[in-house]
């Protein structure tokens, strides 16, 4: 009797184990007989909820459950692990630059057979972000064409004109320093891989190219070196600050009106509004400066696509969902109201009827400027299968260069080496460009 209670207690302590069987992971569920399907969807950002709600309302038979698995970095790392465990969601948001890594990682499924209708909805430049080797791996959701967010109020105070070329930008930076030594026109952020890549692409760089079976990596090509030298000059002369972005330090400077502009992408104004909501009405949007006067080339910084995963048992419905939220008027309307700039042409058209966003109520032509910018995007920018490695190597190399005041061009060479070495190790055919 007593012995039995002992055994029972031991068993109770191991209760957790026996209960294993009662709990199952709840990824996607469905009934085999064509009843309602539930898709799981990983996405981040404020726009997702509205888009998913719109879909769910219009599609009672295919319900979507959205989960926030973290921002781009966390989410893509988890997608790779979950795929290896055959546990990935049906649909997921993936940033354009990580899509190739998701393809070679076996995450993104080829949805060419479901996605042909969607192609017409996007410019060739945007579509090239999701089509590789003739196969379609995703539907573009939002785009981040380069743009200049600037503090119009401070520009006026200091008598600075909005620069249209990078040469003018450098002159303006000097003028800002001269007029108010505590302020800086812009920050060179050594960890902003995406920002640097966009500027290099704008200058004509092609970091990864495919020729048949072979990859060519040219992260330290002439155009990229030119961009590196440009920023090195500004940093060395102390004309712009070199420090990480969006830290408490940077935010405090922004709040004090000491950071006058942020050359980034269309989303930059929204980010600034999140940090300093009381400066709404001060900030405006302008086209990004050009490397050559008279040019209008704009590259992408950020932006993402929706992919169907190889783990999904409902690829067709999943692809339909991915296409619908990103091309239907309902999806685009939900997206725009959350402040995201749509990738689809209809969506971009729709923004023109909208009011300027909350951070720039004074700029009546905000969306016109945005559309003009996005119509000039550099076509056919391609990313490689190990952008994650490039990104991480870039951050360390440029942080190091800024800390130790060494050459940015050498830092680029370090990144190039790391990327080529990693691709060789993985077994890709690769050559340095």
């Amino acid at each position: 009797m007593r012995r039995r209670t002992f055994a029972a207690a031991t068993a109770a302590a191991g209760l957790a184990l026996t209960l294993n069987a009662c709990s199952k992971g709840d990824s996607s569920s469905s009934s085999e007989d064509g009843g309602p399907v539930t898709l799981t969807y990983w996405g981040w950002g404020t726009a997702q909820d509205g888009m998913v709600a719109a879909w769910n309302e219009a599609h009672p038979d295919v319900q979507v459950r959205k989960t926030d698995a973290g921002g781009s970095t966390e989410s893509s790392a988890k997608l790779l692990t979950a795929t290896r465990a055959k546990n990935a969601p049906d649909v997921a948001v993936v940033q354009y630059d990580t899509l190739p890594a998701m393809i070679v990682g076996g995450v993104a499924a080829d949805i060419s057979s479901f996605a042909s209708d969607a192609k017409a909805q996007f410019t060739p430049g945007v579509w090239s972000q999701v089509e590789f080797d003739g196969a379609v791996y995703g539907i573009p959701q939002d785009v981040g064409p380069q743009a200049l967010a600037y503090n119009q109020k401070r520009f006026t105070e200091l008598g600075i004109a909005v620069p249209t070329t990078w040469a003018e930008f450098a002159t303006a930076a000097e003028a800002v320093r001269a007029a108010d030594p505590g302020s800086t026109l812009a920050t060179f952020a050594p960890a902003e891989f995406g920002g640097f890549a966009a500027m290099a692409q704008q200058a004509g760089a092609q970091w990864w190219t495919v020729d048949g079976e072979k990859w060519t990596v040219s992260i330290d090509d002439a155009a990229s070196r030119e961009v590196a030298a440009y920023w090195q000059d500004l940093v060395d002369r102390g004309v712009v600050d070199a420090e990480p972005l969006l830290t408490p330090e940077w935010n405090a400077k922004l709040a004090a009106g000491k950071v006058l502009s942020w050359p980034a992408a269309l989303w930059a104004n929204g980010v600034i509004n999140g940090v300093v909501p009381e400066q709404a009405g001060d900030w405006a949007l302008a086209p990004v400066p050009q490397w050559k006067a008279g040019d209008s080339a704009v590259s992408f910084q950020g932006g993402s696509a929706v992919v169907v995963t190889t783990s999904s048992k409902h690829a067709e419905q999943a692809a339909e969902f991915a296409a619908w939220i990103n091309t239907s008027p309902e999806g685009s309307a939900a997206q725009i109201s959350a402040g995201q700039y749509p990738a689809s042409l209809d969506g971009q058209e729709l923004t023109l009827k909208s009011d300027p966003p909350v951070q720039s109520p004074q700029q009546a032509d905000y969306w016109q400027v945005a559309q003009r910018i996005s119509s000039n995007t550099v076509p056919e920018v391609s990313w490689g299968p190990n952008v994650n490695v490039a990104n991480s190597a870039f951050q360390d190399a440029f942080n190091d260069a800024v800390t130790n005041r060494t050459s940015f061009i050498d830092a680029l060479a370090t990144v190039q080496e790391a990327v080529v070495a990693d691709m060789e190790k993985s077994g890709f055919t690769v050559s340095a460009g």
Binding site: D26, S72, P277
Partner: protein
């Protein structure tokens, strides 16, 4: 092993009689050093509380220790975020840390008692294996644990965070030390002679003596589980199951194009620290008992 075994055990053989000491006049310098240490530890905590009263604009524009005007708005925003996700995270943390540390304390106590009070083949091997477990970095195990959880279909569930946190080599080790020190063999023998079963001897005789030690283990486990980040971060992908640490982290690590929600993270941190401090203050009284009370009353 003697170094570790005797780390806590002098307590038992030598009762401490603090009240019997003649009260001496407090000296300024030693007290000042102690209070300085306390201030050093409290200032950053005070900052969290002060900063949680700042509106998003004030956070970066006003003097660091100047109170702001946005406490109520921040709290409202915090509890409204993502349809009340913060509350959900708090409940999740309570489940993970609460249930996990209760089970962990029980499992550890039973194991520690067995290792301290029985001689049996394989005991030393088990003990050494457990000591080795103390030394392993959690990060090393997180991903293999994830892959294994996936194989048994539990990844992403509550179980995936709860189960691995029940096993605590350090807790078992501590319980063994406490059991060696606090449960005299004579008492165990006496119970056996009275005809009590092994289980009853453990439950009715040893357990009360082990209670102060169990409180310590519970507290350490609770704080550890409450603050655990990596395991839930790796295991979970549904924000509705996040504990507070991962939830607060997710407020700070947004994708590009979205600002970090510093204000929410800070006010969330302030709110989440408060119950822990309350628990520490409450459990403090058990430290006063040390181990002596348990050991001597027996």
């Amino acid at each position: 092993m003697s170094a570790l075994d005797s780390a806590v055990s002098p307590v038992v053989t030598a009762p401490h009689r603090a009240p019997a000491r003649p009260p001496r006049q407090a000296k300024v310098v030693p007290t000042a050093i102690l209070v300085l240490g306390a201030v050093y530890c409290l200032v950053p905590v005070a900052w969290v509380l002060v900063a949680s009263s700042k509106s998003p604009g004030e956070l970066f524009s006003t003097f660091t220790f100047a109170p702001g005007t946005g406490l109520l708005d921040n709290l409202r925003a915090l509890f409204a975020y993502g349809d009340g996700q913060f509350l959900l995270w708090s409940l999740n943390s309570l489940v993970y840390a609460g249930i996990g540390s209760v089970l962990s304390t029980l499992v550890s106590t039973m194991a520690g008692y067995a290792l301290a009070k029985y001689r049996f083949p394989g005991r030393d091997a088990v003990f050494l294996a457990i000591l080795g477990g103390v030394l392993l970095p959690g990060i090393t195990l997180a991903i293999p644990q994830y892959l294994l959880m996936t194989k048994i279909g539990l990844a992403g569930s509550y179980w995936s965070v709860l189960l691995p946190s029940i096993i605590s080599p350090f807790g078992i080790y501590l319980c063994r030390v406490y059991a060696l020190a606090a449960v005299p063999d004579e008492v165990v023998e006496a119970a056996r002679i009275d005809g009590a079963s092994e289980w009853r001897t453990f439950r009715a005789v040893a357990l009360p003596m082990l209670l102060p030690g169990m409180v310590t283990v519970f507290m350490l486990q609770f704080v550890g589980a409450w603050n655990n980040f990596l395991l839930p971060f790796v295991m979970l992908s549904d924000e509705r199951r996040y504990p507070l640490t991962v939830g607060l982290y997710s407020l700070l690590a947004k994708g590009s194009g979205e600002p970090a929600l510093y204000t929410l993270a800070i006010v969330g941190a302030a709110v989440s620290i408060v119950p822990l401090i309350a628990m520490l203050l409450f459990l403090q009284r058990f430290w006063r008992m040390d181990l002596i009370s348990g050991g001597l009353k027996g």
